[in-house]
C-alpha cells in the first residue's frame, strides 16, 4: 500500500481522475476502520452502533486516481428512523457520487445483505467489501467471494480492515467498476413478484419510455413505492395507464405475502433471496459451538443480579485508579513547572513581564497540565468501554432503571460519552430516534462530569481527603452527578418533555479484544487535544486573568505599605505587611472588583470572591477554573513559603462546606462555551440554549445552597 498517499485536506490537482466513493453499511461493520486502513485518517472507531453519526470525507491517491471516500453513519435499512440514518439516506439519494462500497460483516452475512439488496435496486455502481474476514476465518466461516459475485452480479472482495488484507484488491475493483459500465444486479424475486415486474417492464417497453435506468430497475422501484421514481413518471402521459397496473400489482404482491405493507413484503422477498445466496456461498467449517464466547461472557456481565454490581465495581475501580495512579507523576509535574517558572523568570529582567509569564501563563498552564495523568486514565477507561462492546451491555442493564426516569436505554451511549467530553456526547444523541428523547438527553448530558471537570474534583478531593479516600470521593462525585442528572431528567420528563415512550431496539455487538494500537490512538488524540488547549486557550486565558488581577496599579496603597514595611520592627511583621499588601492589591484589581461585585450573589454558598471569579471564568472552559485558582493563589501571598502548591492553598483558604458547594456547582452548571455552541446546534435553536442556561444555573445554585447548609450543620 505504499503508493497510497494521504491527502487529507489538500486540494486535488486537475490532471488526474477523481472517484467519489460512498461507504455504506450497517452499523458496526468496520466502515470507519476500513477508511483508516486505506488512508492515514483517524476516524473514530468503536464497538457499538452509533459511533459515526455524521458524514466525513477522506481524500487519498491511488494509481492515477484521486479518491474521495465519504464515511456515512451506519444504517440497518433504508429508513429514516434516526437522524444519523437520515444523513445516510439523504446522501445516497440526493448527492453526487460515482460508486458505493457496501461494507458487510462476513461473519453475519445474511443480516448484512438485507441492506445490500436495497442498495442493489438503487441504480448505482456497487462493490461489496466482505469485511472482518480475519474474524470469519477464526470462526471457521468461509465465504466464496467469486461465486457470490457471480450470484448477485456485483463484485465482492474479501477484506479485513484490522489486518489490512485485501485492501488493494478492493481499490482495484473500485477502479475497474468505475471504468466499466454498470452491471445489472442479479437480484431475483419470487415468481409472483417477477410476474408483476415483467408486466410493468413490458408496458414500459411497449411505450418506448425513455430512461437512463433499466426498465427492470424502474419497475422494482415503482413497486417499492420509491418517491423519486414515482415523481418522474407522474408527469409522463403514460402515467394514467400505468397507475392502475401498479395498484393491481401491489395488491397482488401484498396478497402473496399476506401483509398490508409493501415494504414488509419486499423485506421478505429480499430475505429469502439472501438466504439462498448465503446457503450457496457460505460454508461453516468448524462445528458451531452451542454457546459463543460472547454469550458465555454475557452470562456473567449481564447477569440479572450480578450485572449491575459488576458494572459499579468497574466504575469504582476506574476512579480509584484515576486518583491513585494519576497522583504518582503529579509531584514531578508540579516540581517541573515550579523549576521551569523559576528558570524562565530568572531570564526576564522586567518585573511585570516576569510576573505575567511566571505567575500568569506558567502557573495557569501548569495547574491544568498537572492533571494530564488523571485525564489519560479516564480516557483509557472510556476507550475500553467503547471498544470492547461492554457499552451496549450497560445500556441493556440500565435501560429498566433509566426508563423509570423517563430516559431511553440508548441515552446511555451519549451520556457515557459525556464523561469524556460533552461535545461528542451532544453529537451522539443523534442515535435517538425521537426528538423529545433527544432533547431530554441533550439537557442532562451536562450532568455527566466531563474530563475537563476532573482536575477540579481531583484538586478538591486531594485537598480535603486522605489519598486513600480521595478515589472513593471521586467515585461518589461522579455517581451523584449522574443521579442528579436522572432526577433532572424525571423533572423535565414530567414537565417540558411529556409524551409517550419510544421503542427500544438495540443491537448487542460481539465482544472484541481492543487492539492496543486503537486505544493508543484514541487516547493520544484526546490527550493531545487537552494539551493543545492548555497551551493555547488556557495560556491566553491565564494571561488575561493575570492582567485583570494586576491592574490597575494603586500607587497610594503601594507607598503606604512601602512605608510600613520599611519601619517594621521585625522580620515577622515585615512579612505580614508584604502579604496584606498583595491581598489588598488583588482585591482592588479589575478581577477583584468583579469578584467583589458578584460576591454577594455567591455569599449564601459560602464562596469568597476568588471562588466566584473562578466559577465565572469556568463558563469559558472548566480547565480555566483550575488555572484561575492557580493564578489567584500564586499571586495572593497568603501561602506560606515552603509549601506553595495549589492543593495546600485550597485546603488552607477554603472551608469544607464551601468546597462541597463549589463542587456541586461545577458538577451542574453549563459545560463550556464550545459545548454550548454544539448544544445549540444539535438542539436546533438558540432558545434551547437559554433554557439550558436557566435550568442548569437554577439547579446548580439551589443544589449548592442545600449542600452548603447541610454540610455546615453536620460539621
Amino acid at each position: 500500500m505504499k503508493e497510497i498517499v494521504n491527502m487529507q485536506g489538500k486540494a486535488c490537482p486537475v490532471i488526474a481522475n477523481h472517484i467519489k466513493v460512498a461507504l455504506v453499511g450497517q452499523p458496526n461493520v468496520g466502515k470507519s476502520m476500513l477508511i483508516n486502513s486505506v488512508s492515514n485518517s483517524h476516524l473514530h472507531v468503536g464497538n457499538f452502533s452509533g459511533v459515526t453519526v455524521d458524514k466525513s470525507e477522506v481524500l487519498f491517491d491511488h494509481k492515477d486516481y484521486h479518491f474521495t471516500v465519504v464515511d456515512l453513519p451506519g444504517t440497518y435499512a433504508f429508513t429514516d428512523y434516526t437522524i444519523e440514518e437520515r444523513v445516510t439516506h439523504d446522501y445516497l439519494c440526493a448527492e453526487d457520487y460515482d460508486i458505493i462500497i457496501n461494507v458487510v460483516d462476513s461473519t453475519n452475512l445474511e443480516k448484512n445483505l438485507q441492506l445490500t439488496s436495497e442498495l442493489l435496486t438503487m441504480s448505482k455502481k456497487v462493490v461489496i467489501a466482505l469485511n472482518m474476514s480475519d474474524e470469519a476465518d477464526k470462526e471457521g466461516i468461509e465465504v466464496n467471494a467469486e461465486y457470490m459475485s457471480e450470484l448477485i452480479g456485483v463484485e465482492c472482495i474479501k477484506v479485513s480492515a484490522a489486518t489490512k488484507l485485501g485492501i488493494e484488491e478492493l481499490i482495484d475493483a473500485v477502479i475497474r467498476n468505475y471504468e466499466n459500465d454498470k452491471n445489472e444486479s442479479k437480484l431475483i424475486f419470487s415468481e409472483a413478484v417477477e410476474e408483476e415486474i415483467a408486466q410493468i417492464v413490458w408496458y414500459l417497453d411497449k411505450h418506448k419510455y425513455e430512461a437512463k435506468n433499466s426498465y427492470r430497475n424502474i419497475a422494482i422501484n415503482l413497486l417499492k413505492n420509491n418517491k423519486k421514481t414515482y415523481a418522474k413518471l407522474h408527469d409522463n402521459p403514460i402515467w394514467t395507464e400505468l397507475q392502475p397496473i401498479l395498484i393491481e400489482a401491489s395488491s397482488h404482491i401484498e396478497l402473496h405475502h399476506s401483509s398490508d405493507d409493501i415494504k414488509e413484503a419486499f423485506a421478505e422477498e429480499y430475505a429469502s433471496f439472501n438466504r439462498g445466496v448465503v446457503a450457496e456461498v457460505v460454508e461453516q467449517k468448524k462445528q458451531v459451538e452451542k454457546k459463543t464466547l460472547t454469550e458465555k461472557i454475557d452470562n456473567v456481565l449481564i447477569h440479572p443480579i450480578f450485572g449491575i454490581p459488576i458494572f459499579l465495581f468497574f466504575m469504582w475501580s476506574l476512579f480509584q485508579l484515576t486518583f491513585e495512579v494519576g497522583a504518582v507523576p503529579m509531584d514531578y509535574i508540579d516540581a517541573f513547572f515550579g523549576w521551569f517558572g523559576d528558570a524562565v523568570g530568572a531570564t526576564i529582567p522586567n518585573d511585570d513581564v516576569r510576573s505575567l509569564i511566571v505567575d500568569g501563563m506558567i502557573a495557569g498552564v501548569g495547574a491544568v497540565v498537572l492533571f494530564v495523568p488523571n485525564i489519560i486514565i479516564l480516557f483509557i477507561g472510556i476507550a475500553l468501554l467503547e471498544s470492547t462492546g461492554y457499552m451496549s451491555r450497560v445500556a441493556f442493564l440500565l435501560d429498566g432503571f433509566f426508563h423509570k426516569f423517563g430516559l431511553h436505554g440508548q441515552s446511555f451511549i451519549p451520556l457515557v460519552t459525556g464523561f469524556g467530553c460533552s461535545i461528542p456526547a451532544y453529537m451522539s444523541a443523534r442515535i435517538l430516534k425521537n426528538d423529545r428523547d433527544r432533547l431530554l438527553t441533550l439537557f442532562i448530558i451536562g450532568f455527566m462530569s466531563c474530563g475537563a471537570r476532573l482536575p477540579v474534583y481531583v484538586l478538591f478531593a486531594g485537598a480535603f481527603f486522605s489519598p486513600e479516600m480521595a478515589g472513593n470521593i471521586l467515585f461518589v462525585i461522579y455517581i451523584s452527578g449522574a443521579m442528579l442528572g436522572l432526577i433532572a431528567a424525571k423533572v423535565l420528563k414530567l414537565t417540558a418533555f411529556k409524551g409517550a415512550d419510544e421503542p427500544f431496539v438495540m443491537e448487542m455487538p460481539k465482544y472484541r479484544l481492543p487492539s492496543v494500537k486503537l486505544i493508543w490512538h484514541t487516547v493520544l488524540t484526546k490527550t493531545m487535544m487537552y494539551l493543545k488547549k492548555a497551551g493555547t486557550f488556557i495560556a491566553t486565558a491565564s494571561m488575561l486573568i493575570w492582567f485583570l488581577s494586576n491592574y490597575p496599579h494603586n500607587s497610594i496603597l503601594e507607598e503606604d505599605y512601602a512605608y510600613k514595611i520599611e519601619n517594621a520592627i521585625n522580620q515577622e511583621e515585615k512579612v505580614h505587611f508584604e502579604n496584606s499588601l498583595s491581598t489588598d492589591l488583588l482585591e482592588q484589581s479589575y478581577l477583584g472588583r468583579i469578584g467583589k461585585f458578584s460576591e454577594p450573589i455567591f455569599a449564601p454558598l459560602g464562596f469568597d470572591w476568588k471562588m466566584s471569579v473562578a466559577l465565572q471564568a469556568g463558563l469559558a472552559a472548566k480547565e480555566v477554573v483550575v488555572s484561575t485558582l492557580g493564578v489567584l493563589y500564586a499571586l495572593g501571598a497568603d501561602v506560606d513559603e515552603e509549601n506553595n502548591s495549589l492543593i495546600n492553598a485550597i485546603s488552607k483558604n477554603i472551608s469544607f462546606p464551601s468546597a462541597v458547594a463549589f463542587i456541586v456547582v461545577i458538577m451542574i452548571y453549563l459545560p463550556c462555551l464550545a459545548a454550548s455552541i454544539v448544544f445549540t446546534r444539535e438542539a436546533g435553536g438558540i432558545k434551547y440554549f437559554f433554557y439550558l442556561l436557566f435550568f442548569t444555573s437554577v439547579a446548580a445554585y439551589g443544589m449548592a445552597f442545600i449542600a452548603y447548609n447541610i454540610t455546615k450543620m453536620l460539621m
Binding site: 441492506l115 454469550e295 421503542p503 427500544f504 438495540m506
Partner: protein, 75 residues
C-alpha cells in the same frame, strides 16, 4: 396468543406476526425480526423490563413493550 414476552430464558420460538405500528415494524424487520424468523431468548434484565434475544447470529435488546408485539409459536 403467545408473545415473545411470555418466553422464558433459552426458549426457542418462531415469529408468526408483528403487531407493531408501521415504523417500529420496519425497524424490527431491519433487525431480522420478521415472519418465519427464529428467535432464541438469551437473557432478561432485572425486573424483566428488557430482554436480550438472538436472531440468526445477531443479539438484540428490546423492551417488554416491544416484545409483547411479537407473536410467536414455540419450536
Amino acid at each position: 396468543m403467545k408473545t415473545l414476552l411470555d418466553c422464558k430464558k433459552a426458549c426457542r420460538v418462531k415469529v408468526l406476526k408483528l403487531n407493531a405500528a408501521r415504523e417500529l415494524k420496519q425497524r424490527l424487520i431491519s433487525f431480522g425480526i420478521m415472519k418465519e424468523a427464529e428467535i432464541e431468548v438469551l437473557e432478561h434484565a432485572p425486573g424483566k423490563k428488557t430482554i436480550e434475544v438472538k436472531v440468526g447470529k445477531m443479539r438484540i435488546a428490546l423492551r417488554d413493550q416491544e416484545a409483547e408485539l411479537i407473536e410467536v409459536e414455540k419450536l
